[in-house]
């Protein structure tokens, strides 16, 4: 019995300490130090939330760069991947059709190398990034859809170049581009109505 009482009391003590005080202290500190990040890195334009810098969005419109395939269609409730193994015929078919889709959409040569992340679904289903190559391959289609002149086309290429996130501290991770930020930048520079579909 004595053990049970000790156990209940110390459990209560640790619940208050590590279950309430600890998260509250951390919340207090980070809400002061990095409020934007601790609240989801939201992108707010004209007082309207447009998304989170960290959470990918689905882009179907021809005027936007497309995101990676997602097995949850960028619906974060809940996040997740396809969980298909490499010997799954479902995965094989999906990769083949995504490859054809990407080539068709961007009017590429049928032998073009489509970057792997554009035919394979991400782990979270919310991957906000694509590789720089995947962005460059979409330029031709976006120029056409947006009716851009050659001057604007080179401006677009500059935007892509300046959007590349290189490995952090020169070493960690892969080079990638945040699709939502890139598309927002397109809208800003080329004055597009964001609901033009």
């Amino acid at each position: 019995m004595k053990t049970l009482f000790i156990s209940l009391k110390i459990f209560l003590f640790f619940t208050i300490l590590t279950g309430i005080i600890y998260p509250l202290i951390v919340t207090g500190i980070v809400q002061l130090a990095f409020p934007a990040k601790a609240n989801g890195s939201l992108v707010i334009i004209n007082n309207q939330i447009k998304g989170s810098e960290l959470i990918g969005q689905k882009f179907d419109s021809l005027i936007y760069f497309t995101s990676r395939p997602s097995s949850v269609s960028y619906n974060p409730l809940p996040s997740g991947g396809s969980n298909l193994g490499l010997t799954s015929s479902k995965l094989k078919h999906s990769v083949d059709s995504l490859r054809c889709g990407f080539i068709g959409l961007n009017q590429l040569d049928s032998l073009s190398v489509v970057p792997a992340e554009m035919v394979f679904a991400s782990a979270s289903g919310l991957d906000p990034h694509i590789s720089p190559q995947a962005a460059y391959l979409q330029v031709k289609r976006i120029v056409k859809a947006r009716n851009l002149n050659p001057g604007q086309k080179s401006q677009l290429e500059k935007i892509i170049n300046s959007s590349v996130q290189y490995p952090q501290y020169g070493l960690l991770g892969e080079s990638c581009i945040n699709v939502l930020s890139l598309n927002l930048e397109l809208d800003r520079i080329f004055n597009t109505n964001s609901h033009l579909n």
């Binding site: 202290i25 951390v26 919340t27 094989k92």
Partner: protein, 563 residues
């Protein structure tokens, strides 16, 4: 692979090796009651804990009382976490209005978090309220890790002491591990993570229109504080379903590097602490080296598999279930570390790894979670293998086996065998049952040999208290929730009980001074023998099952066959 890939791996191991003696020495001071850095900061809290709970910190107990205290304490946590899930809709901090959890899922989750497994049959963001995540699960993240350290400390005292009945006080070991090691590291780590973009708030889920006008709802919550201890305490249970692949749980390559380091940090440092506490820092490093060799071996096989081409996808880099910002190398390094260390958090979906890389993750778990392993648990797990190695070496040369000056006898070897067999029996029997019963087969997401791998991985993960999964398997059913729950209990306490018995029995023994005939446990010969024993035991047990799953899948993949 590029130079940058190799450099990232090198940096990872360099930092790990560098931090091992620093944190190891700090933990030595904490556990031996010496003055240390955190004493002035949290010393008053230690006193307060004892006063509030009515604990006499000076009183030491026998191994039986120690184990009894541990079991009662774990049971208390289990009941609490079980109950708050059943009634979460009536409890506060539930902005998404999530309903009560089903009894079998709640049972599975409370066993899972008590046993430091953190297997998740549910999706965090659509199942559990902030209240349950924070007040239920975050607490278990701390105390289950501290429980692992406590068992280790009892075993160390058993080995280091002579002719005595007591092996310490569970409550003080639990308190010191939590207050001086887990809590300060977690506070620091949580703040750094939030600085990278991990969410930490109590807001409702955010609803808005995307750039194209679709509605998107993104979850929020006190994630950073839970993720910090989830990584440090080899827990691994994600705040969100996609675990550390979720951009809110692991937003940048830097947060990824730190989270990956946190997986191995404490288990690695404990080898140094161990060496110091038993009076041979060299022996501590010997164990560290054996673990590191096994880890690097597995990593090499995985990298080779992931960077190889195959007839199905040609030269296409295998990015299914991986995140762009991390790429393949980080994903494989993480998968190897998380399976070796009984952590179980993921940044890539293990179900979509190439067959051999998935098999390496499975083998890391099946070998007994002793390649660094869980916090505390990895080290007491490998000490079991050390005892077996010493015993076998003793048989070979015809001498009474000795470890750290103490005789290894029938009782210790019997207990060691029980500890080795317990998780393996769970894996083989339950996986066999699931793969021939309709309840088991109905959960499959993949067919062909990969389906068997999904089932095999699930029971390995449960019995090894790992928590990662071939997550395509739908396990939120009565059958899986119950069998996996039992598997986790046997995998945890089926090792803890014999380890405690060994601790008690070793504490009572005399120390014989070492002589020229003593078998040394701090040289390369010993490392070789230890690795051989680990690999032979694990290999003999699991090779048949593995050959029907990942091995055959690998061969079929190379013939271009899909299912």
């Amino acid at each position: 692979m590029t130079t940058q890939d190799y450099l990232q791996i090198l940096l990872f191991f360099a930092v790990l090796v560098g931090l091992t003696p620093i944190l190891g020495n700090f933990m030595f001071k904490v556990f031996t009651g010496k003055n240390h850095l955190m004493k002035p900061v949290f010393g008053w809290l230690e006193g307060l804990t004892y006063k509030f709970s009515g604990i006499d910190p000076e009183k030491e107990t026998t191994w039986k009382s120690y184990t009894f205290d541990l079991l009662i304490f774990n049971f208390t946590g289990f009941v609490f976490v079980f109950l708050i899930q059943l009634f979460q809709s009536q409890l506060p901090l539930n902005p998404a209005n999530l309903p009560n959890v089903s009894w079998h899922s709640a049972l599975n989750t409370s066993v899972s978090f008590m046993t430091n497994t953190n297997w998740q049959g549910y999706s965090g963001e659509t199942t559990l309220s902030y209240f349950v995540q924070m007040i239920g699960l975050t607490v278990q993240n701390f105390v289950s890790a501290a429980t692992g350290i406590a068992v280790l400390l009892a075993l160390i005292r058993g080995l280091a002491r002579k002719t005595i009945d007591t092996i310490g006080n569970f409550w003080t070991d639990l308190t010191r591990s939590t207050l001086y090691i887990l809590l300060p590291l977690s506070i620091l780590f949580a703040i750094v993570l939030a600085g990278q973009g991990v969410v930490q708030n109590f807001k409702s889920y955010e609803t808005f229109h995307t750039l194209e006008g679709a509605t998107q709802v993104i979850p929020m919550g006190p994630a950073a504080s839970q993720i910090a201890i989830k990584q440090l305490g080899t827990n691994g249970g994600g705040f969100f379903n996609a675990n550390s692949a979720h951009p809110f749980e692991n937003p940048t390559p830097f947060s990824n590097f730190l989270e990956m380091l946190a997986i191995l940090l404490i288990p690695a440092a404990l080898t140094f602490t161990y060496g110091k506490m038993v009076g041979s820092v060299r022996h501590g490093w010997t164990i560290f080296k054996a673990m590191l060799i096994l880890l690097v071996l597995g990593l090499s096989i995985s990298l080779y598999a992931e960077y190889s081409s195959n007839p199905i996808f040609g030269n296409l880099p295998l990015m299914e279930g991986k995140e762009t910002r991390f790429g393949i190398t980080n994903s494989v390094l993480w998968a190897t570390s998380t399976s070796a260390a009984s952590n179980g958090s993921v940044i890539a979906m293990h179900d979509s790894l190439s067959p051999l890389a998935g098999m390496v993750a499975m083998i890391n778990i099946m070998l007994g979670e002793i390649i660094f392993g869980g916090v505390g648990a990895g080290l007491y797990g490998i000490i079991i293998f050390v005892i077996l190695t010493v015993f076998i070496a003793g048989l070979m040369v015809g001498r009474t086996p000795e470890y750290l000056g103490k005789k290894i006898q029938k009782f210790e070897v019997q207990m060691a065998i029980i500890a080795v067999l317990a998780p393996n029996i769970v894996i083989l029997l339950f996986a066999a049952w699931a793969s021939v019963s309709s309840q088991g087969l109905s959960g499959l997401n993949n067919s062909g040999p990969h389906g068997l791998s999904e089932i095999l991985y699930a029971y390995a993960s449960a019995a090894g208290n790992n928590g990662s999964a071939f997550a395509g398997l739908n396990v939120n059913t009565v059958f899986y929730n119950l069998t996996l729950g039992i598997g986790m209990l046997i995998g945890r306490f089926g090792i803890i009980l014999p380890v405690m018995a060994i601790a008690g029995s070793m504490a009572r023994k005399k120390v014989t001074p070492s002589s020229t005939g003593t078998f040394h446990t701090d040289n390369w010969l010993f490392i070789g023998l230890l690795i051989a024993v680990i690999v032979i035991v694990g290999g003999l047990t699991h090779f048949p099952a593995l050959s029907l799953g990942p091995v055959v899948e690998h061969l079929l993949m190379n013939k271009g066959i899909t299912f």
